[in-house]
Structure formats: C-alpha cells, structure tokens
Symmetry: C2
Subunit: 587 residues, 2 copies
C-alpha cells in the first residue's frame, strides 16, 4: 500500500489523522529551519512540512528533493497556520515523520505549471510531462466525462454501441484512405475507415434499429491546422426515422450534454434551423457563428451602376457588414483589415469601407465615385448608425466573395469581443445541396457522401438538373464550428445506383466498390438515417480550447508525426519482405 | 413518423389503442379468409391480422408480402383469441387497417431464425442478415451492456478512459505488427498497436493515476481458431499500487460484472490464487479449468522402476487422472481416447489406462508388466474407487507431458458433463516465470512482455540465473480461459535496461525501439501496474459461445478476410504510387 489518501482530499476534519501520501514534488521551499514541499498528484496538492528541530536526518533527506521527484510521505495531518484559500487542501498540512524517495527525476525540460515556459514542440516531445499540467489533464478528464454522458444518454434511448471493424476495404470516394498491407493475402490491402458509414448502414439493414459508437476514424489528408490523421467520432444511426426524429433526438442529447458536462443551460426552445442557402446568403458560411449578428447586406442595388467605381460595376456580388462603433478605426487598423482579406487564404482583391460620421454623413474609401446620396443610401441599407464602420467586399463569384466576407465578419467579431468562449449559440443547417462541382475531378461530387438521400420531391431533378437537387442532410453548428452532421440515407438499391451514375461511376465500378451495400439493400433495408459528431471538436468547444490537440492525449503534428514516439519510422526489411512490398526511392 | 410503437411492447393493457408499427415480415400464414403476419423488429414480434371480409384489397396486398419485406402497418390492438405464451406480446394482435410496403426483399439465402439452415460461410457473407437472428443480436446487446457496466464500475473507482493513438510506431517484440505506410513521410510506416502497453505506462508517468480504455488491438498472426487480427481489450493501469491492490480492484469489478450483466453471484470469498508452478503441476495448464477436479497425480514413485514397462522406466514424468465411473468404457471408447492423445495437436505417444473393477482389483492395459500389488498401489495413489477409470500419460519432457494430460483432462471433463457453461470458476494464476526459452530465437523471451517487473527478491538472479526469475505477473482465469492478465511494471530506467539486456537487446537497439519509454522513466515515473482483459473472450464466456466470432458484429475468417466487405483487396496503382510502394510478385 503506497498511500492511504490522495493529495486532494484532506481537510480540517482530518486533522490529527496519520496518513500516507504519494506523488510528485511540485515545489520545495526553505524557511529558517523548515522545509515545505508541495506534493502533487492527479487529485490535488498537499503541503508537506519538515522541521529541522524535530528530525535533522529527515530534513536533510527532504533537502535532496528536486522537482518532479516521486516520493512517499507518512505523517500526521495538521491545521495550517497560514492557510492557502486557493486550493481545497489549503487549510491543512502534513507534519512528515517518514520520507521515501520512490523515483528521482532529472530536471524537466519545461515547468510543470498551467502557464508553462515550454513551446509546442518540446511539450509534444515530452507529452508525458506536459500532461502533468493541471489544465491539460483537465481536458482529458472533461473528455472522459463527456463520453460517459454520451453513452449514458444514448443507452437510455435504446441505442446499442456496436464496434465496427478497423481493417476494412478501401473505398477512395472522398478523402484518401490509409491502407494496410495484408501478409496473409499478398498484394492485397485493408484500409482504415474514414468513418463507419457503410458499416452502420449495414447494421440498420441488420435490424439493429439504433446504433452508436465512439470510434476512431482515419483520413490521409494534407493536414491543415486542427486536423489529425486519426480522430474520434460519435457515430449514430437510427431506423424508421425521418429528419425530424433524428434532429429531435440529438437536440435533446446536446442539451443534456451541455447541462451535465458543461453546466450550461441551453433552454427549452428548439434550436434554430436554417437552410444552407440562407446561411450562405446571410453569413457566407454553412457553419455560421450565431453568437453575434453582423449579418451580410447585399449591396448590388445600392452600389452597382450607381457610380463610376468599375470594381463594383463589374461585380456579380457586393456585400457588406456593419461593425458597430468602429468608425474610429485608424488608417493603420483599416490597412490591417485590407491586408487580412488580401492574404492568399482569404483571396479578396481589396476592401472598401465607409464610416458613419458624427454628423450622420457617410464617408467612404470610394467617395470620389459616388454621390453623397448613394452613400447615405448605403448607410441606410446597412442599418448603420453614427460611429459605425461599414466593410464591403465584392467579386465576380458570389459564393467566393461571401466566404471572404465571412472571414472578415469572424475577425470583426473577435475584435469586438462578440465571440465569448463561455457563450454558446447552436443551430441546425439543413437542406444542403446534394452535389457540388469539383474543378479538379471535373464532375459532380457528393457534398456529404454518396449515401445521402435526396429530398423526395427533388428526385425527378436527378435526371434533368442534378446540381440543384437538395439533400435530406443537416449539420449541427455551435459557435461557428460544425460539431456534427448527417442525413437521411438512401435505402433503395435502384436510387443508390442512380446516385452513383450521377457521380460518374460506371455500374461495374459502383458494384465493385459498393456492391456489398447495394446487395444488402435488396434484402429488406429499412428507411434509416443518422449523424456523426466530431468528439475532439466538441470537447475543445466545451474546454474553450483553440486547438483540438490539447484534448487528445497523444496528438500528431502537422506532418502526421508523433514526435514523442518518433512514429512513423522506417521498418525492418524483413517486415517488408513478408508483405511482398518494396519502397520505391522517390525521384 | 414511421411508427408509434415497437414490435415488442404491446400488452393486454394496450387493447383498443390505435398504433403504427414497422418492421420485417418474419412469417405469413393464411387460414380461411384470414392472413396472419408475424412482424419483427429488434424489440420483438407482433402478430398482424388481415381479414378478407373486412377489406379485400388490403388482404390482397398482404398476400403479396414475402419473408423479410419491410412494412408499416396501422391498426388497432386486439385481444388475441388463441394467445401465444412464448412471446411477451402473445396476448395481443393488430387488426390492420393500413399497410405500406417500405421495401421489398429477395428471398434470403438462409432462414432468419435461431436455428438457421445457413452454414458459416454464407452467414458471414450475408452477415447483415445473420445479425437479424435474435440469438446473434442478443450477443451484441450483451456486449453493449457489458461495456457500459465496465465503464460504470471503473468510473466509480476514479479511472479515466483515455484514448491512445492507433497509428503508432512499430515495435516488433512479440507478435507481428500490422504496418501502415505514411504518404507524408515516404518510406516510413506507422504500426497498429498490439496493445497500448507502452502508452498506458506513459500515461502513468504523466500522472493520470488510474487509466482504462476499451480499445481495438491488432496482431498480424497466423490465425488459429478463435483468433481475430483485430480484437478488443479492456486495458487498465494504476499508479502507486502493488499486486494486491490491482487484484482486489479487478476482483471487485469481476464480481460486479457477473452480478450486473450475467446475473450470477460469485459470492463474497476472494478468488483462489495459485502459482504458475502449482497450476502446471496440478493441471498442466496456466489456465486451469476449476469447474471440476480430476487433478493430476504424479506416478513416478508408483510406476517407474516397479515393473518391466520400458516406457515408464525411461520416463521423466508419469502422471494420471481419475475419471469417475468410467471403468465401463468400451474398448472402442478407450481407443478413441488413445487416438485423441496421439493426434498431432496433442502429440502423446500413447495412453495407458486402468480400471477399478467391482471386486476392487485394478486391471490395466499394462497388466503384464506390473504385479497386482503395484496396480493396487496405483489405485490408491489415484484415490480411485470401484468403477473409476485411470488414464496415464508419460514422457521425457515433464512440461509437454503435463500439457498433453491437460487436454485429456478437459476432454474427460466434457464427456462427464463437468464443464457446465452456466457455472463459473475463477482464479488468479500468479508468480509466472519472467522468461521462457525460445527454440526459434535461441534466446530467452519475455513470458508476458519486457515491461513486466521481476519479483524484487529475484532481481539478483537476473545476473546469475535469469531463467528462474519470477515475475510480479498475474492472469485471471475463468473456466479454463485466460480472461485477462497483467503485471506490476518496471518504473526504473536502469532495471528496464537490464531486462532488455537479458532479452538480448544491444543498448542501441533498446534505445532505438523503446527509448521513448526509458527516457520517460528518467522524469519521475511512479510505481505502477495494470492488466488487460480480452473483451471478446469475456463476452463469449457470458454468452456461452463456442467462438468469439458470434459476439463480434463483423468478424474476419481464418484467412483474415472480411467476406462480406471482400476486404482486403487490391488497390489502385495510383494509391501505391503516392505511397512510394511497389508490390513484389511472389516467387
């Protein structure tokens, strides 16, 4: 028995008890003939006291302790003279009578404190030290609680958690698969699932009725910030349901999770539902941040052809946002905004702004092209008041320009403090288009995935105007983050074949890649649908993190490397031989 | 809304209600002007009634229904005239007023019933139909409940479930790794974890204190029956613990699971603990089936050198078991036993038997070599009574002979009905040897894994007699199945390096493969230990299954293939090019 108590549980009521604690040395302080040691474990910090007068040898031993030494201390709980109100154990201390050093520690490469001096790279290399920091540990504790709450809720609704295989077949529609060579089947490969999509649909065909799984998924994509090659999904599917049944179930779950895990009341009202087209028009995004307004105002009527400004006159879209109280922005601040929208990631050509002055007139960066009347109309159209700043983007591709304006809106939201991490605004974005055009592939691609059902009323359009077919698809959005999404699925083999045809599959190719699913549909597939949540994102939102990395125990960096494990790495040639594989030198 | 009720919930108290049900057509029967349809979903079966007199058109429609059609039926709940006491809904039926066919079904390739006519291969190919059988579905429901109970228990004890990565580095000590080529790091490979062993130890170094995870693991082994290339582990680790702490915690969990999930009371007594050496001596196995006795009796004193039987006189081990009441076995039955022990999998050279006759004398197959006095002594040594059969194996390798005798004991246990699937006998096997000699590798190998701690008192033997070092390792055994196992781990970098040395690693090789762990030990690693349970095996035991396959939704066959998904398969040459890989034709 290494300990009788943890470092987080002793209180005044324990005074006088003999206890044994074990943990890590957080800090050693010497004062006169006394040594104070902050002993830390997962549960808290307790102060140990060594008194030279009582036991010189013991005090000498305590004097050898360094940061992060692992020790065991026995002693009696004592009321603290100067109590520390910042920690729950701050009323007591341990007068130590026996000290055992269980393991020494080299000096850690960074401080093990909430605000560490360690940079990202070194923290990841020594992640096992980084995780000792209480704020990082708290994220993992939150994740644990979150998953338990998800399981509790879904179990109470009759969902079964069913494990689907990790070694599946490669179906490279969508992102790139990670593949796994099979030694027993030379020349053949498994793939790691990008999601259990087809498997959960097979479980519906199998009559499982309500399925979920908290499950690892894999995508071999070039990693943007905040993407991981492996990530965790809360994957759900239900039979005999329509879109409303699914939305209602998971809205209830969401409210439950916010209440139980985040202690945040989302209220009794149903979440807002907004069509994809409306979201794009009003916010330039299929995941609008609804914590604040600053909605887009389309300005084609006001600014196109009403002055000599060729940029606007040639635009197919002109839109503006109104930043309350920002008319006082300096030239430098406005230049910063212009630089921002012109960065390659945003890609706008320029930014037009207008201020509503003290006297109510509107002064803009394009004053010379427009009459004061037009500018006044602009101010009215924008609902701008004295002291407001109007920011305007234009372009020849409405969707692209809206997306640029969206980025500007989010930036202004940040600047104005409208994106409070402790406030949550949720909505469902619905009625997504079925397809989107891919310039790269020169064909229509499934916007969600090829198993999404079109709206029944739009099915005839599949033959005549597929680009305008809407899908029975929905995303749940929180604070501008797509937390989850799903759809009603196709359960009819003929309709599924039709969709593959629209996507440019030959019947043979469709059969080869998805025959297992289309065959299953011939044996009594029920109507079904579902959704999947990104666990990492959701936990990050709850924890108020900027990156999903800090809610993952051992994340990978932007090159897909685990710098702690030094993986991936080269393997023994013997291993490759057994797999009948050879690495080709790149040219 | 496809349904207002499930097919499992209606009772007499619902009579008169209007309901809508949806599900699969299990059976259609026609009687006079009536059609009876058994409608099935996950929750049960409800009888639908169509009456020609009431609605001819509706009845004609019902007449078109085939097995496994998916339908929706509306109607009123009616008290059944001839009730069916076998099902919970057997008191009622639905008088149908509206019928909608949601999806047709081709005739399924086998019957969807508990006792199906489908063979293994076709059931696996159409696993989504196989899973519709209520007994197979019940296994998945059991698995779901089991995992929930595990999580509930461990959470209540302060364990955190922490996800560890699936894409890790290859450490081919032990079984073969599955490897995953990295596109972003050409020529380099991830490996899929055989277990999160080193990662959970790093979590202990990270101060997580109590960790668990229900997690997929991967081994690229040649598959014996009942092995899967991917399997699920309940993986646990604790800090500041000794062997007793771990055994106590998980004994409590085991009792909880048996009670909550299996409704079986294991009682208040602690489980039996038996040393590995004792288990081998008494049962010839490190996972003895304790549901029955039939213990080994060593017969060297009685039979070696006491007669002219050269086989025994040259043996280094002679052991027997006593099969109660089997003296009446016929010659044919005894020949069967002899054939059994001589099969290549068992590998014995022959079997000697002896019967205790009605008159108390002992008659054996080697009567001519021994005096009646010796045979009487044999009977006494075996504690054999009138009517008993003594079965004896011998050999020049005691361990091998014991393992052969173990197989014979298990067979006799089966024959005598002593291995009741509804009875459970648990024990801990402890004090395993640290190492075992590998003829193949010509070196000592870790019996558990290289991170297992030796018993502190045996550490000096590492230098002088490593083969006799015992480990702080333990297995939990239930009904002859190793359900789980673990050990106290090494937490000292120097001792860990020493173990790698005994295992034949150069310091460089040890550093290359396990440097991340040994480095971590330098920064204050706490004493720690843990264990892992095989989820598939445990659930199979609870379900009384002969194979783990039927508690896995989508298992693989003995060639590691998923015959439903047709995985693994060949991949596009483009995919291989991106990975800088080439498949070598086998010679």
């Amino acid at each position: 028995m290494y300990r009788t108590k943890s470092c987080g549980e002793l209180r005044l009521s324990n005074v006088g008890e003999n206890v044994t604690l074990a943990g890590w040395v957080q800090k050693v302080r010497k004062m006169g003939g006394m040594i104070f040691v902050d002993l830390r474990d997962r549960y808290g910090i307790t102060q140990l006291v060594f008194n030279e007068e009582n036991d010189k040898a013991l005090c000498d031993k305590a004097n050898t302790l360094g940061r992060e030494y692992v020790i065991q201390a026995k002693g009696v709980v004592n009321k603290r003279y100067n109590n520390n109100s910042k920690i729950p154990t701050g009323d007591i201390e341990i007068i130590v009578s026996e000290l055992n050093i269980l393991n020494k520690s080299e000096v850690p490469p960074f401080t093990i404190e909430e605000n560490t001096d360690g940079g990202d790279d070194i923290r990841m290399k020594y992640r096992y030290l980084d995780l000792r920091r209480s704020n990082v540990r708290a994220n993992l504790e939150l994740r644990h609680k979150f998953c338990l709450a998800v399981r509790h809720f879904l179990d109470s609704k009759g969902f079964l958690e069913i494990e689907t295989p990790v070694l599946v077949g490669s179906t490279p529609e969508g992102a790139r698969d990670f593949i796994v060579p099979s030694r027993m089947n030379p020349g053949q490969f498994y793939a790691l699932p990008q999601s259990p999509q087809t498997l959960k649909q097979l479980l519906m065909v199998a009559g499982m009725d309500k399925y979920f799984q908290i499950v690892k998924c894999f995508r071999d994509e070039d990693l943007r910030a905040d993407r991981q090659p492996e990530f965790t999904q809360i994957d759900c599917e239900m039979s005999f349901v329509e879109q409303n049944d699914i939305i209602n179930t998971f809205e209830e779950m969401t409210k439950y999770l916010f209440k139980e895990v985040r202690h945040y009341d989302l209220g009794d009202e149903p979440f807002l539902r907004m069509s994809w087209h409306e979201a794009m028009r009003r916010f330039g995004s299929d995941k609008p941040d609804m914590r604040f307004g600053m909605e887009f105002v389309e300005l084609m009527d006001v600014l196109k052809g009403t002055g000599d400004f060729a940029v606007f006159n040639n635009a197919t879209y002109i839109g503006g946002i109104c930043a309350k109280g920002c008319a006082s922005y300096t030239r430098k601040q406005l230049d910063e905004l212009t630089d921002f929208v012109k960065t390659p990631q945003i890609g706008a050509k320029g930014l037009v702004y207008a201020r509503v002055m003290e006297d109510g007139t509107v002064k803009s960066s394009v004053d010379k092209f427009y009459t004061p009347e037009v500018l006044t109309k602009l101010g009215e159209a924008m609902n701008a008041e004295v002291g407001d700043l109007i920011l305007i983007l234009s372009g020849d591709d409405a969707m692209k320009t809206r997306k640029q304006l969206c980025e500007l809106r989010l930036l202004m939201g940040d600047r104005l403090g409208l994106r409070d991490k402790n406030k949550f605004a949720l909505l469902w974005v619905v009625d997504f288009p079925m397809f989107e055009w891919s310039d790269e592939e020169q064909r229509l691609m499934a916007m969600h995935h090829p198993f999404t059902a079109p709206k029944p009323s739009d099915i005839p359009l599949l033959d005549t105007d597929p680009a305008n077919v809407l899908a029975d698809a929905y995303d749940m959005v929180c604070n501008g983050v797509e937390v989850g999404g799903g759809s009603i699925r196709i359960h009819d083999a003929v309709l599924q074949a039709k969709i593959f045809e629209v996507l440019g599959f030959t019947p043979e190719k469709a059969q080869e890649q998805f025959g297992f699913l289309m065959n299953a549909f011939k044996y009594g597939a029920p109507p079904h649908g579902g959704l999947a949540y990104g666990l990492d994102r959701w936990v990050s939102l709850f924890a108020g993190l900027d990156s999903i990395r800090d809610c993952i125990a051992f994340p990978k960096n932007n090159s897909g490397r685990d710098v702690m494990l030094e993986a991936p790495s080269e393997v023994d040639i013997k291993q490759l031989d057994e797999l009948h594989l050879k690495v080709e030198q790149s040219k």
